[in-house]
């Protein structure tokens, strides 16, 4: 069970940040955007209840997540160390700060339930709720990366917590905007509130982004220091991905801000109702991915600590160098014969067969995706649409190919049983989920494109692609060869970014009107093509 414990322990960080943002960001939305106590505020009860319900949900989920984090940590230690972690675990900062954080989150939950919900327009109640959050945030400071550092601990903890609050203000605000849009669609709020609150939030969002930069830049400098650390180590690479995704999210934020300014100039609600909500939905996908990447970043050793294990920029570029895809696979017997030497700790012998096996898998997958993206492009033409619209069937073929090839040491090709391999190895578990996801993606998307009235079916493709992107961004080849693991990771993370672009593009293609719809669709298919190209040229380092 070590694999599944490790897997769950690692994923819970992103979930925790999401609920933290919904709770803390929701309160900041109430304080700085909504300001329900203002005499001029023209809010009905439906809006205020919806706002507070979301914060209430966030606080409740935060309690559950924090307690689950402690439970998972205990489970992970028990299965990894093969012994009970008690009583030593009771004396750790993790246990004490985690319990304090859960307690204050529970206090917030109770206060909202007992007091704020009954006094939705009371400034005092909103301020008390915020006061409860202060010790919660302070407890959280002891759970971040900087808390375990040997030097400058206070500074790093303060910067990280401020960074988290800025992120929470943005993400929590976006969730509140989505809730607001839900009310707007039901005509449950006054019409002028939608543009007004969007305008107010853009100011809060601007401050949040400024705080993210002001706190993030010194943190990045402290943990990375060199260009090579930024380019050639997992920590720097994930930070680069965060910066790229933040650029995408800011792009959507900028478009939305333009639309709001246009509204206040000419009073046309068209862009604000036909485009902006969908840009915000895409922005939400990106922001959630950023939160999961941030949690992943916190589990990486900082580049500054591993200068002897960082790759050069030439080695990184070489991973993307165009070359002829590998057409021939080594035999399964050759692969298995080399496994004992490759995985040995003492007397390790690199396995050329294992590297060639992996290259073949990646390159053939790349050919699958590149050909599919070609047919996907053709499907936009009336002339070829009838038969090229079946292009997602390729995902089903790819899923079957990966099922047999991705973990050759386990069932059905290898000697290790299906359940044993799935639940005792985090990497195989991730591969199995990805394989299942790819197959289902093909099944649902083909039906979505062929059926006359597919209903909500088309939306599964972008959601599953976004999930696939999250998995790629978090993909880890757990092992002791840090430089090799990074060189494998660097390709996966770039594909993760393209998977997210694929997801957002398709989402917007389904939601927007022309010409935005066509542009988004093309960008989506182009991202699929890029993923295919990266995979086609993939070469795994020999280890």
């Amino acid at each position: 069970m070590e694999g599944i414990a490790n897997y769950l322990d690692s994923l819970i960080g992103g979930v925790d940040l999401t609920f933290y943002s919904i709770a803390i960001g929701g309160l900041l939305w109430g304080l700085f955007v909504l300001r329900p106590w203002d005499e001029n505020a023209n809010y009905n009860s439906a809006l205020l209840q919806k706002t507070v319900n979301l914060i209430h949900f966030g606080s409740k989920a935060l309690v559950i997540t924090q307690l689950s984090k402690i439970g998972l940590k205990i489970w992970l230690m028990a299965v990894t160390l093969g012994k009970s972690p008690f009583p030593a675990f009771f004396h750790t900062v993790q246990f004490n700060a985690g319990l304090a954080r859960a307690t204050f989150a529970f206090a917030l939950y109770l206060f909202i339930k007992q007091a704020l919900k009954a006094n939705l327009r009371s400034k005092t109640h909103w301020l008390v709720a915020t006061a409860i959050v202060i010790p919660l945030v302070m407890a959280a400071a002891w759970l971040v990366h900087g808390a375990s550092r040997l030097e400058d601990r206070g500074l790093l903890m303060t910067l990280t917590v401020s960074h988290q609050i800025a992120a929470a203000a943005w993400v929590g605000g976006i969730f509140q905007i989505l809730a607001l849009w839900g009310l707007k669609k039901q005509n449950a709020i006054a019409e002028e509130l939608w543009p007004l609150l969007l305008k107010r939030f853009s100011t809060v969002g601007f401050v949040a982004v400024a705080l993210l930069l002001v706190t993030g830049t010194p943190l990045a400098w402290y943990y990375i220091r060199t260009f090579q650390g930024f380019i050639g180590a997992g920590y720097g690479n994930l930070l680069m991905v965060k910066i790229m995704m933040m650029g995408l999210a800011l792009g959507f934020a900028w478009i939305n801000r333009q639309a709001v300014e246009e509204y206040f100039a000419c009073r046309s609600l068209y862009a604000l109702t036909v485009r902006v909500p969908y840009y915000i939905e895409a922005e939400t996908l990106i922001l959630l991915t950023i939160l999961f990447t941030a949690a992943s970043l916190a589990s990486q050793p900082p580049s500054v600590d591993i200068p002897h294990l960082t790759a050069t920029w030439e080695e990184v570029l070489n991973m993307f160098h165009p070359r002829v895809p590998r057409w021939e696979s080594p035999t399964h017997e050759a692969l298995i014969a080399g496994e004992a030497g490759r995985t040995a700790i003492v007397g390790q012998i690199p396995s050329e067969a294992a590297t060639a096996w992996s290259d073949y898998n990646h390159n053939i997958s790349g050919i699958f995706l590149t050909v599919m993206s070609f047919f996907a492009m053709l499907s936009y033409s009336e002339r070829f649409h009838r038969w090229t619209r079946y292009w997602p069937i390729g995902f089903m073929g790819l899923g079957i190919f990966l099922f047999f090839r991705s973990d050759a040491e386990s069932w059905p090709l290898g000697p290790i049983g299906f359940w044993d391999s799935t639940f005792n190895n985090g990497e195989i578990l991730q591969h199995r989920i990805a394989t299942f996801l790819v197959f289902m993606l093909g099944l649902y998307e083909t039906r979505a494109r062929v059926k006359a009235d597919p209903g909500i079916l088309p939306y599964l493709f972008p959601l599953m692609s976004a999930f696939g992107g999250m998995m790629l961004l978090a993909h880890s080849h757990v092992g002791f060869e840090a430089k090799t693991a990074f060189l494998i990771q660097v390709g996966h993370t770039l594909m993760g970014v393209f998977a997210l672009i694929l997801a957002c593009g398709r989402w917007l293609e389904l939601k927007l009107d022309a010409p935005g719809k066509n542009i988004a669709g093309f960008i989506s298919v182009f991202a699929l093509f890029q993923i295919g190209v990266i995979l086609m040229f993939y070469r795994e380092p020999l280890y």
Binding site: L11, G14, L81, P85, L463, F480
Partner: protein, 119 residues
């Protein structure tokens, strides 16, 4: 739309991240002070973060990947750990670490080394 939100939530919950740990060895005495042949010795490790030794395990790995638990104690400086190695015959060995860092990350590390007869 509610169904889509549920799917989104389920997918978000199922997303994963790397299990690569945070605590890493930044310096070790193996390079500067080779392990002597057939003589008990001590290895000094420096970590990049505070570690909880009561919740950590250290193994000596010898030929055939045979693992033997070895004792670890805190050094004089923060983040410093001292390992007690038994007397070792010439050959290739490794130290396998399962370390619980103070920030809650349980990470594994490996240090390979040789025990050689003096020339």
């Amino acid at each position: 739309m509610r169904f889509v939100i549920r799917i989104l939530l389920a997918l978000t919950l199922a997303a994963s991240q790397g299990a690569f740990g945070h605590a890493v060895v930044t310096h070790n005495s193996l390079k500067l002070k080779p392990v002597p042949v057939n003589q008990a010795s001590q290895v000094e490790l420096s970590f990049n973060s505070k570690v909880e030794l009561d919740l950590s395990e250290v193994f000596l790995v010898s030929a055939g990947d045979v693992m033997t638990s070895i004792s670890a104690s805190p050094g004089a400086k923060p983040g410093q750990v001292l390992l007690d190695l038994p007397a070792l015959a010439p050959g290739e060995y490794a130290i396998k670490l399962k370390i619980f860092a103070a920030d809650g990350h349980l990470s594994e590390d490996l240090l390979r080394f040789f025990v050689k007869e003096p020339k």
